[in-house]
Amino acid sequence: MKKELISLRVNRRTHELAVEPSKLLLDVLRQDLDLTGSKRGCDDSSCGACTVQLNGVPMLSCTMLAASCEGQEITTVEGLADHGGLAALQKAYGDFGGAQCGYCTPGFMMTVKALLASNPDPTDEEIREALSSNLCRCTGYLQMFQAIRAALAAEQKGMKHELVGAK
């Protein structure tokens, strides 16, 4: 299939790319932009490992055409770090065992970040519901709850930088 020139805005930077119109966003991110943080865990939008944000909304990049994302602000897990340091959520996932093998973790980061952006004080039920869009086979999700709670507490106390520097 003949390639076409598209312009994608990823993590606040604009990229001119020649891609096939049939190419999926996940493949463009991973293969053309070397942003391998977004993972392929399935091929049919069932696992959530490829979750990225489009204009702040979590979307599954494994079932979206890259060309259809022109003009949108795409954020991947690589765009989450807080001024070059770990965001409170990333730090908390490490500290509380929210990530074991880590393969699903970037997807969870994008899902949880979007949840917290739209709802800074979610109930347990709301967290549970938001997490259900992503699958994990290691953790049983429980330590993720602790991590999310801890990250919220840290952000509310404005302790972000202390967390970043710890250990």
Partner: protein, 858 residues
């Protein structure tokens, strides 16, 4: 002040940041210049001869670089020396739907996929076998010619005098249990990148480097050498981050060999990554199992004898099968005190994807049967299920009737913990209608005492290098797969050397760099690689201590290394008192400054002239040691002690372990009697891991095990129809989401094993097996039905409930009562999948008109 400064504290994994930022690299994240993409053609038939393969049309397609078939690498291999029955690609015959037939390497995935359609394969279908009990009766058209009756292996063990034991019993329970098949479904699909270098002297293909998602890099190196006929020293296997294994990457998966064979043919780097559907076909999961169990007890619940017959539907290749069927028998022992055991195990070949090792390898399904039967016995004899377990406890140190040595044994405390925390005594029997409590116990090995390939070599070796910068580099072959292996290694070394954890860098699982380690399976890493790391650290510490003793003018025994400082015993060490720390910072801690190593050496020379000291920084001690001894390195190995290697009977090598972990669990469930839906409200799980080196990691492992057991108990199931997997996707397979995941109260019990590193034992598998029977026992407590077939899906529960009430059966489970299962049924007994299933290849047997199907039965 705690006994330890690094271990026993909850700390983040040392590789956590790479995982949460996406910077960490998994196999599929690598690419090389000129890399090709490999795609595999799979068999559409469960059992067929390959009459011919014509790859010419595929080879002619623009962009295709190589097409390989079985003839390109016909050497056999298999994870077990007794089971070398696989080839990289099928030679002459395919044995399951999904068997690997050919591989295309092309410049893009799209072209490779198009080329697969241009490969012409002519098959001659053979009768296929899907039910192990029927497969065992067959005589013609064997799946493997050298396996009569399609039996991979059968074992018949008698320990003690089972008949005498049954004669002494006051009550004998007997039933058939069936556990359906489950798979690992690790989040990372298998992936391999293979690349040959050109040899500078011959100009031909030279060394091979393979990056692969594996739990066992050294076995992969070994099998690659067998198939490619290359010396192991010419093959480098690198294991980057692995996205979960659970046993699914603990043997050689066909794509790992195929990638290398294809790279050789293409003379270019080749990467193959399975699709999720291919991962399901590759499988190697927990076989569906029939367990005929008979237990004799005295009136008080004391077990007098156990007889157990196990039939495992092993699939088309041996894989770990011989080990699985042995574990199923051996691990009847070492949990309770059972005086007499009879075990008959049959590992049977069928035309389905091969089953292999999965978390709780071999023990899980038998434990489901055993713990369910314990509960039945308690109900029958009107005993408390907890007291039936307590009366059968082992009295360690002991050697069980089947030759398993048990030293540390935290099971009694595990039982006490879950009984107390769940309110078992107060709440049981007083819960509202439809709600119940159930309990069960389980255990697992901390690594196998005998390696797969019998030899006297150490099971784990760790090397350490410390340079003048005070950085500690640890080289270990142990495979981090998300369980925390690298972090454990760093912690053990930092604890022994008394240095900051941040000094320790772990280089792991790269066959060129790291010493041999058998890999991450059977929960062996903490115990064995941990012990090797401990010994390596002690080895290097010796030299630091002797140099420091000279500097401080004291005996080596008086040198203490702790808190990143080295000091004489009796002094403060300087590190902890804030006032002293400030002074010391000025005096002798050049950290943070850009002192060159040579400069620092000369500074030290000056200090040496100034006379003895009372304390030093870690770096200073290291520099002294290098000045005294030269390069500072250490090495340590671990092999299980001879006493722990088990009995001498045939098959006695599987089951023995230097230590066993123990788990007790209570589950609280409610049953919706209208829909058959089970809700698990909470599980209390107590796990004896010896000593928790990193409590947050131990809890993660225990919770993860319980959660995975919960999936097998309630919803996960591989549904087969004519050898075709009907649900090869994460949603169809029903991996539990956060919505289905209950609260788990995890309690760590520390029995401090005498031989474990700092007393530690396994934590990653032992809890899984107890969850399934704990839930089934809770269902019995809630509504009085005894489900003997897992998973406990709504249709099974509803069917059992209606049978109990004498209501008309509903057409959901093909008129079979899940409380008294007799055999495996197509579609797992559920009619949910009947006639459904994804559209497949035109040659798919499920799509052939009646009469032409290849089924050898019915």
């Amino acid at each position: 002040m705690s006994e330890f400064s690094v271990i026993g504290k909850p700390i983040a994994m040392i590789d956590a940041a790479g995982k949460t930022t996406g910077a960490g690299k998994y196999t599929d994240d690598f690419k090389l210049p000129g890399m090709l993409i490999g795609k595999i053609l799979h068999s559409p038939y469960p059992h067929a001869l390959i009459k011919s393969i014509d790859t010419s049309r595929a080879k002619a397609l623009e962009g295709v670089v190589a097409v390989v078939t079985g003839e390109d690498a016909p050497n056999t291999y298999g994870i077990l020396p007794v089971g070398h029955d696989e080839t990289a690609l099928a030679v002459g015959k395919v044995r399951y739907v999904g068997d690997h037939v050919a591989c295309v390497a092309a410049v893009s995935e799209e072209i490779a996929e198009r080329a697969l359609e241009l490969i012409d394969v002519e098959y001659e279908p053979l009768p296929a076998y899907f039910d192990p009990e029927l497969s065992m009766k067959t005589e013609g058209h064997l799946i493997h010619e050298n396996r009569p009756n399609n039996i991979e292996k059968d074992y018949h063990h008698v320990f003690g005098d089972p008949e005498k034991g049954f004669a002494e019993a006051d009550y004998i329970a007997e039933a058939r249990y069936i556990a359906q098949e489950v798979t690992h479904a690790a989040m990372e699909p298998h992936s391999t990148l293979a690349n040959f270098e050109l040899d500078p002297y011959t100009g031909t293909l030279g060394r091979l480097t393979v990056i692969s998602s594996t739990q066992v890099p050294y076995y992969l190196q070994h099998k690659l050498s067998l198939v490619l006929e290359m010396p192991m020293s010419q093959i480098r296997v690198i294991k980057p981050l692995v996205g979960g294994g659970f046993g699914g990457k603990s043997e050689i998966i066909p794509l790992e060999i195929i990638a290398a064979v294809t790279a050789r043919a293409a003379r270019a780097p080749v990467k193959i990554t399975y699709t999720r559907e291919e991962v399901f076909w590759a499988h190697r999961g927990r076989p569906r199992t029939i367990i005929d169990l008979k237990t004799g007890v005295k009136k008080d619940g004391r077990v007098t004898s156990v007889a157990c017959k196990v039939i495992q539907d092993g699939g088309a290749y041996c894989s770990y099968g011989v080990v699985t069927i042995l574990y199923s028998g051996a691990l009847i022992g070492a949990l309770y005190d059972i005086p007499h055991i009879r075990y008959d195990g049959y590992r049977v070949l069928t035309n389905k994807p091969a089953c292999g090792a999965m978390r709780g390898h071999g023990t899980v399904n038998v434990r489901f049967a055993f713990e369910s039967q314990m509960d039945e016995i308690a109900a029958k004899l009107n005993l408390n299920p907890a007291s039936v377990r307590r009366i059968n406890l082992l009295k360690p140190p002991t050697i069980t009737v089947n030759g398993l040595r048990v030293l540390s044994y935290g099971l009694p405390e595990c039982i006490d913990q879950v009984i107390t925390r769940s309110g078992w005594d107060e709440r049981r029997g007083k819960l509202p209608k439809g709600r119940g409590l159930g309990m069960a116990c389980s255990h697992y090995v901390s690594g196998a005492a005998n390696s797969i390939i019998r030899s006297d070599m150490p099971h784990s070796t760790v090397n350490i290098k410390i340079d003048r910068d005070g950085g500690v580099v640890v080289y270990t072959g142990a495979s981090e797969i998300g369980q925390g292996s690298d972090t454990m290694t760093a912690q053990v070394v930092a604890e022994v050397l008394g240095c900051d954890l941040s000094r320790v860098r772990v280089i792991a699982a790269d066959t060129d760099l790291t010493p041999i380690d058998l890999g991450s399976y059977s929960s062996r890493v903490t115990f064995m690689a941990g012990n090797a790391a401990l010994r390596a650290a002690q080895d290097v510490k010796k030299n630091i201590v002797s140099a420091a003793a000279k500097r401080m003018d004291c005996a080596p025994e008086d040198v203490i290394m702790r808190g990143d400082r080295v000091y004489k015993s009796g002094t403060t060490g300087g590190g902890r008192d804030p006032g002293a720390a400030e002074i010391l910072e000025k005096v002798d801690a050049p950290r943070g400054r850009v002192d060159g190593q040579i400069l620092r050496g000369s500074v030290l020379q000056t200090r040496k002239d100034q006379g003895p000291k009372e304390h030093m920084s870690f770096e200073e001690a290291v520099v002294s040691a290098i000045d005294f001894h030269g390069a500072l390195t250490g090495t340590g190995s671990y092999a299980p002690p001879v006493e722990a290697r088990g009995g001498r009977h045939k098959g006695g090598g599987v089951g023995p372990s230097p230590a066993y972990s123990y788990s007790a669990q209570v589950a609280e469930v409610s049953v919706d009697e209208e829909t058959g839906q089970i809700s698990v409200h909470k599980i209390w799980a107590a796990h004896d891991c010896g000593r928790a080196l990193n409590p947050v990691a131990v809890e993660g492992q225990v919770i993860g095990s319980v959660w995975m057991g919960l999936g097998q108990a309630l919803q996960e199931e591989m549904v087969w129809k004519d050898g075709l997997l009907m649900n090869p996707g994460m949603l169809e397979y029903r991996s539990p989401s956060s919505e289905e995941s209950p609260e788990i109260d995890c309690v760590i019990v520390e029995s401090i094993d005498p031989e474990g590193p700092f007393g530690a034992k396994e934590a990653g598998e032992g809890s899984l097996a107890a969850t399934i029977p704990a839930i089934s026992n809770a269902i019995y407590d809630a509504v009085g039905i005894r489900l003997r077939e897992s998973p406990f899906t709504p249709e099974r529960v509803l069917s059992a409930l209606r049978a109990k009430k004498g209501l008309k059966r509903i057409e959901m489970t093909e008129h079979v009562d899940p409380t008294a299962p007799t055999t495996f049924r197509e579609h797992g007994g559920s009619l949910w999948f009947k006639g459904k299933g994804p559209m497949r290849h035109p040659l798919d047997p499920a799509r052939q008109p009646a009469g032409t199907t290849t089924g050898g039965e019915r």
